[in-house]
């Protein structure tokens, strides 16, 4: 499908992003404050977007990017909604 160099680079990318997700999970479970947990979830969304982009390159299909765009939007709205709820006690005032 593709050359040896890009296969190795993709393997490294998948491994690095997987390890990053494990670190985020650790912070999600451990995180002393509620803000740490929101931050860990936000970072997990960003890392998953990276995984989807790498999968799109690996499979050579352009359909993965709608999923990435959707995840970027939903992740941002989720983060802001959770923070807004903690700040104001309500999401839509």
């Amino acid at each position: 499908m593709s050359g040896a160099v890009i296969t190795a680079a993709l393997a490294f990318g998948f491994a690095a992003l997987g390890l990053a997700l494990v670190m985020n999970l650790w912070r999600l479970f451990r995180g002393p404050g509620l803000a740490d947990r929101i931050l860990a979830l936000d970072t997990m969304v960003i890392n998953v977007i990276g995984l989807i982009v790498l999968a799109g390159i690996a499979h050579g299909s352009g359909t993965a990017f709608e999923a990435a765009l959707l995840l970027a939007m939903v992740g941002f709205v989720g983060t802001v909604a959770y923070a807004k709820f903690l700040l104001r006690g309500d999401i839509i005032e």
Binding site: S2, V5, I6, A9, T43, A68
Partner: protein, 140 residues
């Protein structure tokens, strides 16, 4: 699909390795740094820029390897770069808010506990905005 020139493959591979390494470093900072205000730096800067490199790699791969011009990645990166500072600001506000209401709930960070804002500046509380402050849309 081996239509890509060798230098294009090397370029895309280098961008992928760079982006994934930056994402990993950002998450490592999230684990390693001692307080939330410092932990905010890792994901918001390193991880977001790493994802930018991955998206550039994707654009280059589809353009140079397959001759397809895709703009979805540009949209994703634009959206991400616009929203990352906003969500970081919201998380920092949550941290300060919880610090003010329950000082034992979190560590304040290297700068210490921030000074409480004056009475007319409730920018991060459960209370409604006071009359005449920027958040007050009804008292104008």
């Amino acid at each position: 699909m081996s239509g890509a020139a060798p230098w294009a493959e090397w370029l895309v591979s280098a961008l992928i390795v760079l982006g994934a390494a930056f994402a990993l470093i950002g998450s490592w900072g999230l684990v390693r740094l001692p307080s939330l205000m410092e932990r905010l730096h890792g994901p918001t800067k390193a991880t977001t820029l790493g994802l930018g490199a991955l998206l550039i790699a994707s654009i280059a791969w589809f353009q140079l390897g397959k001759g397809m011009w895709t703009t979805h990645e540009l949209l994703v990166s634009l959206f991400l770069f616009v929203t990352a500072p906003i969500s970081a600001n919201m998380i920092a506000k949550v941290h300060l808010h919880r610090l003010r209401h329950a000082p034992d709930a979190a560590e304040p960070g290297p700068a210490g506990t921030p000074a409480a804002p004056s009475e007319a500046a409730d920018w991060a509380t459960h209370e409604a905005p006071h009359l005449g402050t920027p958040g007050d849309f009804e008292g104008d």
